[in-house]
Amino acid sequence: MSDEASGAGPQADPRANPRARALEGFTVELDVYSGPYEGLLALILRDEVEIFEVPLRELVALYADENPSGTSTLERDTDFVDSATSLVLLKGRALAFDPEGEEDPEEPLSPRELERRLVGYLKIKRAAELLNERLRENAGFYPSAHFLPPRPGKLRVDRKKLAAAAKRAFSRTAEPETRHLGPITVTVGELAALIRSSLVEANGNPVRFEDLVRGMDRLRAAVAFTAALSLASEGSLTLRQTEPFGPLTLDPAARTK
């Protein structure tokens, strides 16, 4: 498949975008997006799809289902794992996000500032639940289809906007600009290993997430969280949090790997 794809155009050097080339033909059906996988990656990198809305577990399951009889090539599998790992890392980065760029990543927030933010966020979270309900209750109202169309000339189509829309629509899978993401210096693998060894040291006892990330900078802590989620989804541990903002605990799975 990649051979054929690499002959597709003058610039189709497989190294230019190996993951999209090898994974061409893999389409995904998710709530947030349906279409080619490479398109999903492009949309995420261009901030057109929020990384938190991409259920990675579902994505992996779709990939596994797509190749049930071992027809997949090693190259293809490697590319998929590579891109899926990038998505996990992106999730980690988004969690450590600092929009104003003002915070020193090594300097923890003051307890008062943290409280202010959490209380503010909690209110927004409740408001979002309320909106969810309001929008659902009001979803079934359809407006009249019997209006007169505006007189010709009243409606304007902006040609600049139309050209910009054409660019957008026909470049959905363009190799996106990634410079703004900056280097990611920590891997989920490293932190997954750290979590596993902490669980072994704890000798079958639960480990508090807070203890695990004590002393880590925010990016590492966030990636540790995604690593914990990955381990939980593969069944190596169980995550426990009894209430919102409550302490998070990692329990070793009964059947440790």
């Binding site: 349906s34 169309p149 007189r151 010709p152 040609r159 139309l162 910009a164 054409a166 660019k167 899978t173």
Partner: protein, 205 residues
């Protein structure tokens, strides 16, 4: 859900949401009602929406049933039309217009394939505004889906002399990107293929 709604209410809602007269079989399949109860409900509705009782009237036209404004109220409706300022088009609407302009005539499925998201609602909005129209059907695809094209009103709204009075796609989008879009359309569902086949091989895309 709809079990709770009375037959007349179901018919009322369907006629309200359809810009065209709805033939009885369509009405039955949309509402799930039997023919007898539908006819009885339509009789009731003729009373409720009579020219004497209401500003909305139920009429039979072009082989179907239609709700329409009472001619007695025509002046008020015309004044509303004069005052109404059309809402600006959304980003999605612009993208759909661009797809149909550059690929067209093409199907809804092809538009959705290019955009990567279901575009049915945006297409409907543009049909309602008269910027797109269905022009024939793609008989080679299963289900013979409708072919969409831009309208003269669209050209007027964009201040364009004709379809060619827009920058070519090649000047807007990278050649590699176009090749990929083409590949995607070709490998998509048969309905989406219609969009490609309906196009001249040497056309913009």
């Amino acid at each position: 859900m709809s079990a709770a709604a009375r037959p007349a209410a179901l018919i009322e809602a369907v006629l309200f949401a359809s810009p065209h007269p709805v033939p009885l079989p369509t009405l039955l399949s949309a509402t799930g009602l039997a023919e007898g109860e539908s006819r009885r409900a339509l009789e009731d509705l003729k009373g409720r929406y009579s020219p004497e009782a209401s500003g909305i009237v139920l009429r039979e036209a072009a082989g179907g049933y239609q709700l329409a404004t009472n001619p007695l109220c025509a002046e008020a409706v015309e004044r509303l039309r004069e005052e109404a300022r059309p809402a600006p088009l959304s980003g999605a609407a612009h993208e759909v217009l661009a797809c149909v302009l550059y690929l067209g005539p093409t199907t809804r499925a092809a538009v959705s394939t290019v955009r990567g998201v279901n575009s049915d609602a945006a297409v409907r909005g543009l049909l309602e505004r008269g910027l797109l129209a269905e022009k024939g059907r793609d008989l080679e695809s299963p289900g013979a889906p409708a072919l969409l094209d831009v309208t003269d009103d669209f050209l007027i709204a964009a201040g364009a002399k004709n379809r060619d009075d827009f920058p070519s796609l090649e000047t807007l989008v990278d050649e590699t990107e176009l090749a990929r879009v083409r590949e995607r359309l070709a490998s998509a569902t048969p309905e989406a293929n219609a969009g490609v086949r309906a196009n001249d091989p040497g056309a913009d895309l």
